[in-house]
Structures are given as C-alpha cells and as structure tokens.
Symmetry: C2
Subunit: 585 residues, 2 copies
C-alpha cells in the first residue's frame, strides 16, 4: 500500500511531535517546521520560486484544476507547504497535479513520494541480502495484480502503488550479483543524469530545441573519436538507439559511400553487394542486411579461431572468391569484443585487407569499446583507428544507463549526405543561428531521444581515469574467476587461456557426469545442466548469469562482468551457488 504523505516532508508522525497538542494540523506543522529548521516552508518556497525570483502567475481559471481541493492558507509563504500534511492521495488524481491551478504542493509532494520509492529501490539494489529477482511466471504475474487499462482514472494513491508493484517484480539490474547481460550495474551519476534528461524532455533534431544537448553530443562524440585515435577527434557520429541500429547505420553509410545512387534508385540500380563478418559476430549484422534490402545471404560469415577471433586469411580468401564471382564486397564488420567469447578480431590484419580491396572497415566495438578507456587493455583494439566506422556502446562496459550507443564515422558529412531529406518544416534554412548544429537530418530517426547527457555527466564525474579504474577492476575480476575455476573440479573451460574481455565461458559438470565418457549421452545430459541451474537461480533469485549453446558446443555459462558493484566475494558466491544448485543434476 502506498502511504499517503510518506515523503520527506511528512512530519505529523505518531510519536515524538514537538508540539503534541497541535499534532496533525497543517498549521502546526507549518509553524513547527519553520521554528525548527528556519523553514522547510522556506525551502519549499525556494524550490517554487527559484533563486530570488518572486512571483508566479498561476494558470488561468479555466485550466484543468482543483482549486477547491487545496484551499488557500493564511501563512506568509505563498505558495506554502502548509497543506502538505493534509494531502491524501486517495482523493487526488493526476488532474490535481501541475498544470492544475494551485497544483504545486500536490505535485511536489507526489513527485517526492515517487522519489522515495525510487531511492528505496536504489538502496535495495545494492543490498546483497535482497533478491536479484522475485521471479514469477508470466501467467502468475498477470494474475498477481490488475495491470489492465480502463476508461476511468486511478487515484494518485493507486498510482504510487503501481510504482511500488512494478519495482517489486523488476529485476535489480544494479545488484552486485546480476551478471546476466553485457549491460549491468546502476551508476548513481548516470541515474541522476537520466532523471534530468527525462525532466528536460526534449528531442535531438535541432539546436533550437536542444541547445545544450546538441553541444554535448558534439563534445562527447569528438572525445570518443579522439579515444579511437582519429587525428584531432575529427569525423562524424551520432547516438543511436542501440548497437544493432549503429551497426545498421554503418552498413547503410558504407553502401552509400560506394554507390551514392542507391539512395534514389535503390538496390535495383547497383551490383550485388557482399558484407563480411565473423561467425561469432553479433546477429545485428545479418538483421541490418535483411532490412537494408541486401539480404542475409549476402553476409558472408568468416571462420574464427578457437578463441572466437576472425581468421584474416579466411576473410581474404572469401573476398577474392566473391570478386571472382562478380559480386562487390562493400563492408567488413570486424568485432572488438564478441558477445559470447569476448573475442577481439585482429583489427590490424583486417585493416590491411580492407585497404587492399578498398572495402569499408567497420568495427563493432559495442562491447569492447570501453577498453579504449584503459591504458592497460586498449591494445586489444589496436587497428581500430584504421576503421571507417565504429560502434561503441557506453551502456555496456562503461555502465551508462540504457540506452547509450554511438556510431562514429571517420569521414565527416557522409552521414548527412546519406540520410538527409531536407524537410523544410524541421530544418528551416533561414534560421538565425549556425545551422551546422541542426544535426537531425543525418539520422534515420526524426525525433531522437537525448542519450548523451548521462554519458557526458558520468565522464565529468569520473574523468577518463575513473572509467579506466572501473573497467580495469571488472577485467581483474574476470581473471580472478578464470583463475579460480580453470583447474577446479567440476568445471571445464569452453576455450583455453585467460579471457581478453570479461567473458568467462565454462561448463559446470555435476558429479554424476564427471566420470562419464565423452559421448553423445554425456552431451545430451550436459546441455540440460545450465538451463536447470539458471532456472533455479531465478527461482531463488540469488544471482543471474547467462548461458547459451554456440556452434557445436552445448549450453555453457557465459559469465560477464560489467557491474562496478561486483566484488571478489560475489564471484566466490557465484561459484558456490552454481555448485549448490547443480550438484544433484
């Protein structure tokens, strides 16, 4: 149940009131608060009025409003918080919030109470004694609560309850033992920045409506290009809604660069194109090819070595083969940090091949890009500076809240030529400021969410060195895990050697399988182990880690660490938990 008036402002508590005889009355609260604090009322007024601004022209009387429900007070603070203690959300609706006439107090109180719910969730997220997940099957969850949408409004009390219930069943993605995805953790500055972004509620297409954010995108993308190693940070780029879309952009731009006529004439007017990527690359390369009318058959999967790295000689062979058949190789998408193995393709060798055959080199560093922040680990991306485009998702290894994905392009202006449609109703050419800041027409999107601010603010708060420390720590933890299990009874590594990224891939082999011959029966039993352990993890809610098959390798665990909250003890816990949940299998 939502407790009405449970915010930080609610003073009229059951015990210990400094003014017992007036307890519970709004006036008493108002006076007492001012006596004690120099004025919570003053504080609220400062919030309402800002820094020294004085009056506030309230909404016209014909606005949606509820003036009757919040009668005027006679204290000296206008508007004052005297009614706060009287707020009963059971009788209030969203129409009582701003822009309702006299809606300030109710609004601030409501938002503060939502914030209390969120702060409580934040603290719990980091608490190892709480569950990562309170798991319910879909049909159970549908029955657990009434989630339906109806004609009639709910009260604000019910709205607060909705918030609590939603978070009750949410996954605590910031929990130190949540390892399920490449994006884990909950960064406090990033969270604050995302709240601010929501509050500013604008759109990235023009400087006109997002002046600061447009400039911050410019500053941040330039800095990212510097980290990649492009001279002076020159080039182009955009924040896009996720790595899959960033990779699709790269493919789109590569095609346009080679055959600009494709924009008007379509694929019908150009030769048959081929793209190359490794068999361990992300599925978005094929997804992009399907969408762009290139077709998945035109994505050639290059063989990988046992560590999941693209084999350059196989790439060159397939390129030559394609050319002999009259196809046009237009794109190589190398991967820096594959999804499952965390492998880094040999970018220098791939760059040489791309140069030799004049092919656009894209690097999908969605997962591995973060290592560019680390002096110790960035060598793994050597050669990325020779790429024509790079996907880099700060929402993964850098812990920026979802979503934050950048596509960086070495050649300036290409994105604009490729995507612009010159809509005169959005990009007027006779505005009074420098139109080079109206960057919206280089995007596939029209409206575009502000994804830059959380990255920018986190970068300010941590500095590059702070990101470095965070990332180095995650890699150190992965090595700790690897060292602990590589020779431990009951574990088999999926590939040999120290992990290059934080991906540690392994099978847990329960005692019953340990002495079995390595035959089909064993495989058939082994492939069921990880799913069962995972299901149990979720039902207990103690931790979450991903598993999958890959090629001829049956289901194995893929542990990844991108959560700065994780510690050695959490790694130890994971091992113990896998053994606890899997020993009877």
């Amino acid at each position: 149940m939502a407790t009405p008036g449970s915010g930080f402002w609610s003073f009229g508590s059951e015990e210990g009131s400094g003014d017992a005889e007036n307890h519970g009355t709004a006036k008493a609260w108002c006076q007492a608060a001012q006596k004690f604090t120099g004025g919570i009322g003053t504080k609220l007024c400062a919030l309402l009025y800002g820094d020294g601004e004085k009056s506030m022209e309230t909404g016209a009387k014909d606005d949606l409003g509820s003036a009757e429900k919040t009668p005027a007070c006679t204290c000296n603070n206008k508007p004052c918080s005297c009614q706060k203690a009287d707020i009963n959300y059971a009788f209030l609706h969203s129409t009582d919030l701003l822009p309702a006439c006299n809606g300030e107090i109710t609004t601030l109180s409501f938002l503060q109470d939502v914030m209390d719910i969120l702060l409580q969730y934040v603290v719990k997220s980091f608490d190892r004694s709480t569950k990562v997940i309170d798991f319910h099957y879909p049909n159970e969850l549908l029955q657990e609560y009434n989630w339906e949408l109806t004609d009639q409004p709910q009260t604000l009390e019910e709205i607060l309850l909705n918030c609590r219930t939603t978070l009750k069943y949410a996954i605590k993605t910031g929990h130190p033992r949540y390892f399920n995805q490449l994006s884990t953790g909950l960064d406090m500055v990033g969270l604050a920045a995302d709240w601010l972004t929501s509050t500013a509620n604008t759109n990235m297409f023009t400087y006109e409506i997002a002046p600061v954010f447009v400039l911050l995108e410019y500053v941040t993308l330039r800095k990212m290009r510097e980290m990649i190693g492009w001279p002076g940070g020159c080039g182009d780029g955009i924040f896009s809604p996720g790595g899959a879309i960033s990779n699709m952009y790269a493919m789109l731009i590569a095609r346009f660069k080679m055959f600009p006529e494709v924009k008007e004439k379509g694929m019908a007017a150009i030769p048959r194109l081929l793209a190359f990527t490794s068999e361990h690359s992300h599925f978005s390369v094929k997804k992009g090819a399907a969408a762009l009318g290139i077709g998945t058959d035109s994505v050639i999967l290059i063989r990988c070595d046992e560590r999941g790295k693209m084999i350059p000689s196989d790439l060159e062979r397939r390129i030559m083969e394609a050319k002999q058949k009259g196809f046009v190789p237009f794109l190589v998408s190398a991967t820096a940090g594959t999804t499952v193995y965390g492998a880094f393709d040999p970018l220098l060798a791939i760059a040489d091949i791309c140069k030799k055959y004049k092919i656009w080199m894209h690097v999908d560093a969605a997962w591995g890009g973060g290592l560019l922040m680390s002096r110790k680990h960035k060598w793994k991306l050597n050669g990325v500076e020779r790429a024509n485009s790079v996907t880099w998702n700060p929402h993964k290894m850098m812990g920026v809240p979802l979503q934050c994905s950048a596509l960086l392009v070495r050649e300036e202006g290409l994105m604009q030529s490729c995507n612009q449609m010159h809509a005169s109703y959005l990009f007027q050419q006779d505005k009074h400021y420098d139109l080079s800041y109206d960057t919206g027409d280089k995007a596939l999107q029209c409206g575009r969410h502000v994804d830059v601010f959380k990255l920018w603010l986190m970068w300010r708060a941590k500095g590059t060195t702070g990101f470095e420390a965070q990332i180095d720590k995650c890699l150190e933890l992965a090595e700790y895990l690897y060292n602990k299990i590589k020779n431990r009874e009951g574990y088999e590594m999926v590939f040999d050697g120290k992990p290059q990224h934080t991906n540690v891939c392994f099978w847990y082999v329960p005692p019953s399988l340990r002495n079995m011959e390595d035959n089909e029966e064993r495989m058939n039993r082994l492939l069921k182990v990880a799913p069962v352990i995972k299901a149990r993890m979720m039902e207990y809610g103690t931790t979450m880690v991903s598993y999958q098959p890959l090629g001829d390798k049956v289901n194995f665990f893929r542990m990844v660490i991108s959560n700065p909250a994780a510690s050695h003890q959490d790694i130890d816990f994971l091992i113990e938990e896998i053994e606890r949940l899997g020993q009877d299998l």
Copy 2:
C-alpha cells in the same frame, strides 16, 4: 553554484534552529530531528532498509569505497543520517556514491539534491513569468561554460553545478507557451514513470530481464489495437524509437509480406517495388525507402487537396500507371494528421483502393492517433481499422514523455518472421518459462529502451476519459485561435476552414505589407517575416512556435497545441506577441 547539503534533509540552517548551542553539529541534527519528527533518521532508515527488512551486508572491503570519509556514528539508527549535515560535496566524488562501502548516506543525499534541482525546474516550467528559453547562440553557449571532458574527475559539487547549468540553458518544453513541436508539455505522472524507468534500467528483449515491462507492453499494445478497432485487440506491435522508425518498420513488413524471400536474397531477387504517399506526408517515408534499398525515386507522391488531404483518384491513377509500367505497388502510406496542416487523408477511400489492388495499407497516425481517444474527434480516422499497420506516437498528442512511438500491425507473427535471426545467446529455446514473451527478436533493435511504462502509468492515472479531456481541450484551443485570427487584421490563413487537428497555419502580415499588391516583391518580404518574429521570440524567450514554407507557400506559422498546460490566455498572448514582435517589419 551548487549549495552543498541543500536537500530536504539539510536542517542546520542559519536561523531559527531549535537547538542553537549544538547548531551545526551532526549529533545535534540527528537528535533534534528525532525529537521533532519521530525521526527523519527513522525515515531514512526505512528508506535504507525497506519494509521491515533488517540487515544489510555491505560491500566487501576491497570495493571502491570511501569508508574513511564517512566515519561510523554511535547513534542507534544503522545506517543513520547523522553525517548528512557534514556532507560537503566539494570533497566528494562519484566514487563516494554507491556501490561504495558506506555510500548510502552520500548517495541518498546526492540524489535528493539532484531531485531538488529537477523539482525546481519542473515548477519553473509551468510558471508563465519565466522564459521558455534563455537563448544563446552556439558559439556563445560553448564559451559560457566549460563543457569539455577531461582525464580527471570532478567533485559532486561540480556535478550538481553541471546539472543546474544544463537546465539553465535548456528549453522549457513543458512551458504553457512552448508550441514549437508536435511534442510539448510535461506530464507529471509521465515524468514520474520515466524516472522509474531509468531507475529500473533494463532492456526489452526478454521476459527474463524485463518481466513487468514486457507484460505492460503486451497489455498496452493490445489496448491500442482495440482503440484502432481491430477485433479483440488482436494483432501485433512494438514500441520503437520514434515515428520514423515505426514507419520504416511498416515498409519493411509490407515488403516481407509480399516477397518473403527478400529477407535472404535482398532486393536483387524481387521486382521493382513502388510505395505511395501524399505530398504532405512525413519525410520519413522517403527516408525509410532510401534505407531499405528501395530508393526515394520509388516513393510516389500523391497530390493533395487544398486542405492537405491525399486525393484518392490521383492515388488510383498512379497505381494503375505503375502497374502498366511493370512495377509492383506494395505500400500505401496514408497520413492521419499531417505534420504541417494536420490533415487527415480519406482513409476509407484509400482502404478501398488498397483492397482493390492488394496493397499493404499503412496509416501514419503518429500525430493524429491521439484523436482515437476522443469520442468527439475519432471519426477523423474512420477507416484506420482497415489498415494493415498503424504508426501512433503517444509522445505527441497524448503528452507522453519522449520517446514513445508504437507500430501496430494487424497480422500477428509477421514482425517476428520478418526480423528474427534466432540468436541463440539471447533467445535460448530451453528456458523455463513461456517463450512467447521473449519478443525481442521481432525488433530491428537488439537492446530496446523501455518506452511503455510512462504511457501505461499515464493511462492508469488518466483513464481513457482523461486523455480524451486533455485532447478535446487542445482541439478546442486550436479552434479558439482559428476563430480569433481568421478575420483579424494582419492575418491570412494558409487554408480555409476550421482546423481538423490542432494545426493552425497562418501568415502574419505586418502593417507595411498590408496594402501592397500581391506580387513577387510582397512574397519576398513576407517570407522573411516569420523567421524574424521567431528569432525575436527566442531572443526574448517569451514563446516558441514553428514556421516553414510548403510547396509554393512562403514561410508561414504553424501553430500546434499538444500541451495540456496551454490556456486561452496563452493563445491570446501568442497573438499579442506576434504583433508586438512583427509590427515594425
């Protein structure tokens, strides 16, 4: 400047302390607060511990931490807020926040102080006495503040200052006099929901990591399909990053429906396709065609009547023409609510033509979809129920925070077939729950932001009837504006008759042009009027409204109202302001 400790918890103010002799010491604050309130400390502990949960295993000692900076207190509340009064952000960094050991107090205090900044901005946003924008040219804004990213971290004090500065130069998109875009306003429940979404920080691809949000997407999309009029709300859909991407999805699915082999074989394997849309339609239809390898030349623009509605006879003529030339018409994208005129294409007539020629009918109701919530206005979309797909952006007319765009598809399963790539590392087939809830593979994106919660929570708070009231009010205001200016001296309407949506398009003709002949010179002067008035509006910061040319019509104002905060007085103000700023031109 950020004021350290300026949150709601900061009590040790300069005046009126109830315990003057201990003023300023942490202990005094702690005791006094408990005496007065029954415990702000208790409140904080409740936040920290949640509902009755007791202990909290703090992070391992090897974590990033700052235990030295927050020494243990001897009061009875563990962890307590006694140090709050001592928090000096000038000496603290992001590494002092959670997951830092003993980081709870600092974290809660910091987040609360960020929240205070946001609440102040929210209140100001609705205050008509504040500016909509504090405009600075890009080069000024770059010099106004140091926005650069560096190696070294900033203090939390500087981070709070960054937040204040960012908001200082932001556009107040919730301001009652901000009319610049189709998305305006700041809904309090939507904002709260977006904060919650940020805090939950998860991803839409699987039920596993977003159980509640996946279910809410299911519930909400079904409800939207019901509003469209598809029996039982059956069908499919997705929330996508904006209307342009939603329209691109429609084109992608329409192509796949007709030629499923395109997914593997690409455009080379299928005949030359043609899409049809009106000359007033959104530029994203062409943008999508360019991206998908169809080419912009294959988008045929159908003529509109004087109100901006597609002329069905012209559509049919162009379809027949295309077929005669051997092209394959595969998509008609009708518009319900055009960007500039707010026109509704005649959907019933278009549906008949699509049926006759077996063409996919898409309705881009990004802007007009909201009218489906209104019993008074939904007739304008009659025929939408016959569409194969519909784009509907609740972030426009329904005032949901950015971004919230839905693509609805009548045929179930088609999106999945079109886009799925079966990545085994994401969509494992041997999970322990009903896999039909792992809907991520029907998206073009891999990671996908949670855009549904803010719409769902607003719908719960308002009910359908609340959205209806809000939308009806905006339409009523548009009519009010139209009635005020249609015969007013100095105004010329761009098209005759009452607006069908909230778009009111007009020229303001300054006195110097009123008696001029309607010749080229007048046009050349008139086209400069709106840009100058707009530039002045932004420099004064009093209001913002969009202008653009269209076809042979020179720059005119396009007023739109989607902001529930706007009132009759704001419309009056706009008219006065245009006249004030334009009378000398």
